[in-house]
């Protein structure tokens, strides 16, 4: 069973990722201080998608912002579950189409 991780744990994963790449982690007595990490296989889907947001835009977002975004992502994923419950088959096409283009026929 996957344990639910807190945002601080998730923040830890992102912090370690940035520390590793930039070498800017805090140092104590010459040793690098490493935040606890969250193994990727333990991340719930919403947390994984939040990690994407944090990795790209984390410098603009405080903890409260991340909570709000996480909640929104959970809602998006719940919507996706609702589509699966409808029962889509291979033949069910999306409500938009692609067509070949030919300039002298347009």
């Amino acid at each position: 069973m996957t344990r639910r991780r807190t945002f601080l744990a998730l923040l830890g994963a992102a912090t370690v990722a940035s520390a590793t790449s930039t070498g800017t982690a805090d140092e104590t007595d010459g040793e690098r201080e490493v935040e606890p990490t969250v193994p990727m296989e333990d991340l719930e889907p919403a947390e994984a998608l939040l990690a994407y947001v944090v990795a790209n835009y984390g410098d603009r977002l405080d903890d409260e912002d991340r909570e709000v975004i996480h909640e929104g992502i959970e809602g998006s994923l719940a919507s996706a579950d609702a589509f699966r419950e409808v029962g889509l088959e291979n033949a069910d096409e999306p409500a938009y189409g692609f067509s070949a283009y030919r300039g002298d026929w347009s």
Binding site: L49, L50, Y52, V53, Y57, R60, L61, D65, V68, I69, G72, I73, G75, S76, L77, A78, S79, A80, A82, F83, R84, E85, V86, L88, D92, E93, P94, A95, Y96
Partner: protein, 480 residues
């Protein structure tokens, strides 16, 4: 100066007075410009007034009338456009701080069509920033200030076409153009006591109109009467081939016998759950509307196909809006938007998985077919336009509207591109307007409009002249 009470008359009545010589196009335009200046700021309804363009057009249209040239019902009628409709000689701000100085080189297609029809562009009307596409929680989600309701300035005018709605209700314009991705015509029309038409998807060109969600955005008229909406829609709709739906007379006529044996000229579907979860005033007015409709139509209770309409709409809008505004998000300028929830919603929208967007559109195909199958038997479906009256302007939208169940009809109609006509049907809590919405099959605007016009003929729920009389006193209170 033309009295304010004249400025709230329907489009056809303004046109009649023009042709009878009671006033000129210039005089009518000057009167609206004056009222926009006096009352517009109190409602936060206006972004930019295009007075030079308006007066030049007015003079030209007066000369045409004198020469016997008449462009039709909209000749000389002044109007405003939601500020996401491009105009060549005024900024197009999208209601959003990052775009306050944005300019375009040419008019949107809808403005070009209205110019051809003889309309007089008065200016750009206020709106919720970026049409609220990422989700917002405040009436103040715009740089122009919260859209105030002319019936009570401490209530919201609705959004995202806030300024278009309040300007029409308060007689600041002859009519207005708004847009709807999900609710942005129907909501402000319902809250502000006016009529609006959400046309079938792509019946009105989106060329020159801000894209929030390419497959969900629609451009439509907002007027004090359904009759006015019909006039404007005739002018702005793209021509349809003669052999396609939407051409020709409406299917039903009041009182006419039907080949299928039903008693009255129209047959209207009423969702089984309509009347549940609403404010009491909304429910009472809806029941009364059904009584009026039963005078000239057969009503039948139906079940909407059980599909996740809101989930579809949300996923599709998120994915398309995240793409449409990717530059805004990447640059960080999204944090210049006024509403924090709106800012953060852009990040949520950026995480929609491609397969989930595709699946939303696959379910959308099912929704289109099942709804069309249902509506084949009816001239329209009717439901309350909103389940409550407008919220107090300072109150969180989520907290206020979360008290009421949202009817699925608006989500269903928007995600499937179906037309809708919103029309006032009385007043509810806090003496604020309520409304019904008629939804029809794709391109069946003639039938839905005929039905709505018949309903309008039998009811007189909104006295816009009384609103004008009381407005100045109410707006003075807003300054206290």
């Amino acid at each position: 100066m033309i009295p304010d009470e004249v400025l709230v008359e329907p489009v056809d009545e303004l046109g009649r007075r023009l042709r009878d010589g009671e006033f000129t196009v210039r005089e009518l335009t000057e009167a609206y410009l004056d009222r926009l200046e006096r009352v517009g700021p109190e409602l936060n309804a206006v972004v930019t007034v295009t007075d030079e363009r308006a007066l030049a057009a007015a003079d030209r249209l007066d000369e045409e009338l004198e020469a016997g040239e008449d462009r039709g019902p909209l000749h000389g009628i002044p109007y405003g456009v939601k500020d996401l409709v491009a105009t060549e000689d005024a900024p197009t701000t999208w209601g959003a701080e990052p775009y306050r100085d944005q300019e375009f080189d040419e008019d949107a297609a809808v403005v070009r069509r209205l110019d051809e029809a003889g309309g007089v562009l008065l200016g750009k009307l206020a709106m919720v920033e970026l049409a609220g596409g990422f989700g917002y929680d405040s009436a103040d989600a715009t740089f122009s200030g919260p859209g105030r309701n002319p019936w009570d300035v401490e209530a919201w005018a609705g959004g995202s076409s806030s300024g278009s709605a309040s300007a029409v209700a308060a007689g600041l314009v002859g009519f207005a153009i708004g847009t709807e991705t999900w609710g942005s015509l129907n909501t402000p029309a319902a809250f502000s006591g006016i009529s609006a038409v959400r046309p079938t998807y792509d019946l009105v060109s989106r060329d020159g109109v801000m894209a929030l969600s390419w497959t969900m955005d629609k451009v439509g008229p907002m007027c004090r009467t359904v009759g006015g909406c019909r006039r404007v829609l005739e002018a702005i709709a793209e021509p349809r081939p003669a052999d396609r739906p939407g051409r020709g007379p409406p299917k039903g006529k009041p009182g006419a016998p039907r080949a299928d044996g039903r008693k009255n000229g129209f047959t209207i579907a009423v969702p089984e759950d309509a009347g549940e979860g609403e404010q009491e005033g909304v429910r009472e007015n809806f029941e009364r509307s059904l009584e009026t409709l039963s005078e000239f139509a057969t009503l039948e209770r139906v079940s909407l196909p059980d599909l996740p309409y809101a989930a579809m709409a949300g996923t599709i809008i998120d994915a398309e809006a995240a793409a449409a505004f990717e530059t805004l998000i990447e640059s960080g300028e999204v944090h210049e938007l006024d509403d924090e929830i709106h800012q953060l919603g852009s990040y949520r929208a950026s995480t929609v998985l491609a397969k989930d967007y595709v699946n939303a559109n696959r379910v959308r195909t099912k929704a289109q077919r099942r709804l069309d199958e249902l509506l084949t038997e009816y001239d329209a479906l009717v439901s309350p336009a909103r389940n409550s009256v407008a919220n107090p302007i300072e109150e969180s939208l989520a907290e206020f509207f979360g008290q009421f169940e949202t009817p699925p009809v608006n989500a269903a109609a928007n995600v499937t591109g179906l037309p809708g006509v919103t029309i006032p049907n009385g007043f509810g809590e806090r003496d604020l307007p309520t409304a019904v919405e008629f939804v029809g099959r794709a391109w069946e605007e003639p039938t839905v409009l005929a039905l709505a016009c018949e309903y309008e003929r039998r009811t007189e729920h909104v006295d816009h002249a009384a609103l004008v009389e009381g407005l100045e006193e109410r707006t003075m209170h807003a300054d206290d």
